[in-house]
């Protein structure tokens, strides 16, 4: 678990946008919070998994993937904005994310 500050929030946003720009071979300026990960960007769940790995390494977390899986069934992610929020919640709450509403 990590206490979030504005710098971390900005870092997470930057990493997510850079990741999708690289993967989808587009400019970061073309990606907005409203961009649909699948229909607009051609993204998939492997990208979600890759981002989880990037952030767990970056912030030294030990995350049980199954916890995130269970959480994401209840809180499905469709847009880049929702994905950034989800990554921030994972960083902030770690495995306790499952206890959030």
């Amino acid at each position: 678990m990590a206490k979030l500050n504005d710098k971390m929030k900005e870092e997470v946003r930057e990493v997510v946008l850079d990741f999708f720009a690289e993967e989808c071979e587009i400019d970061t300026e073309e990606i907005t919070d409203e961009s649909n990960i699948i229909s607009d960007l051609g993204g998939d769940s492997l990208m979600f998994l890759a981002l989880i790995e990037i952030f767990t390494k970056k912030y030294g977390q030990e995350i049980d993937l199954k916890t995130i899986g269970k959480y994401s069934i209840k809180h499905p992610v469709e847009t880049i904005g929702e994905l950034i929020d989800m990554q921030l919640r994972i960083i902030e709450h770690g495995n306790n994310i499952i206890n959030l509403d």
């Binding site: 071979e25 769940s45 492997l46 998994l49 995130i68 899986g69």
Partner: protein
């Protein structure tokens, strides 16, 4: 620097510019479409990325994947970019064999078609399929299979948390549903009705062996091919025959094949095929390497 050419099986999605990229460097793609039409009697020159008659048909989709792969690898070699080693992902084996000089293009088409026909006849009356599970480990998936005694198995390990499963359709569906219940990040039933890399296809062995002996002259490969089943290097006609036949029903492990390639010093991987599925699944494997899908091939040729 060592270079590996890696070959995808099916095309899960196109980047959209594959045909333009290939046509810019050679006429191989159009030539091979023409050849495939002649060999199969099916009009492959009607192919386009939007034509679902090709993209959603299992056999045609495999044949088109083979055409894309052979076109690109031939082009690369003609332009002086030669591989040190080859690896085929599942049915990508046939394009690896063609690139290695073990079979000619026409025999690859014959092998793909015959493998499909024999597989279909072997599982006649059995509803079967394949699925993907992202977010669980091999042990976690095998525990579900054992707990519910499912007639399903892991077909392929792409990475620690990414697997393909295969088997009877009801068992595969059961497995996917349970995987989601215990916390998989995502699951999907694939648009493949044949249970590749499953025990259900073990009955293909004798007939496929006989077909190869009778119809397909195999030659020693110019470049070694890594077996996706046991990661041994395949070079001789006997090795090749065993790999082709076992590839239908044997479980494969792409993660281990890729790790082996990294361990023998490969730092440059070129994905010879449409889309970039191998780049996506291989990114989870640690190591200092670069993967070039077709969309980035220009950088290597100019």
């Amino acid at each position: 620097m060592k270079t590996a050419f890696i070959f995808p099986a099916f095309i899960s999605e196109y980047i959209g510019s594959e045909i333009q990229i290939l046509d810019a460097f050679s006429s191989n793609f159009q030539h091979y479409l023409h050849e495939t039409s002649k060999i199969t009697g099916d009009d492959f020159e009607e192919f386009s990325l939007e034509n679902t008659a090709f993209t959603e048909n299992e056999l045609r989709s495999q044949l088109i994947s083979y055409v894309f792969s052979c076109s690109l690898s031939d082009t690369l070699i003609t332009h002086g970019l030669k591989p040190d080693i080859l690896a085929g992902y599942s049915m990508g084996l046939y394009a690896a064999l063609h690139t290695g000089g073990a079979i000619d293009f026409e025999d690859g088409i014959k092998l793909i078609k015959q493998a499909y026909i024999i597989s279909k006849s072997t599982i006649a009356g059995i509803e079967s399929g394949m699925g993907s599970i992202i977010g669980l480990t091999q042990d976690e998936i095998e525990e579900i299979i054992a707990t519910y005694k499912l007639e399903a198995e892991i077909a392929n390990t792409n990475s620690v948390h990414s697997h393909l499963v295969t088997g009877r359709l009801d068992a595969v569906n059961h497995l996917l549903n349970n995987a989601i219940e215990i916390g998989a990040l995502s699951v999907a039933l694939l648009n493949v009705k044949t249970p590749y890399h499953s025990k259900l296809l073990k009955g293909t062995l004798a007939e496929f062996q006989q077909f190869i002996s009778d119809e397909v002259p195999l030659k020693k490969t110019n470049y070694p091919i890594i077996s996706s089943i046991n990661q041994r290097l395949v070079k001789t006609p006997d090795d090749i025959k065993t790999e082709i036949t076992n590839n239908l029903f044997g479980n494969i492990n792409w993660m281990h094949s890729f790790e082996k390639l990294v361990n023998v010093g490969v730092t440059q991987f070129i994905e010879c095929g449409a889309g970039k599925s191998l780049q996506k699944i291989s990114r989870f494997i640690p190591g200092d390497f670069k993967i070039y899908p077709m969309s980035k091939i220009k950088r290597l040729l100019t």
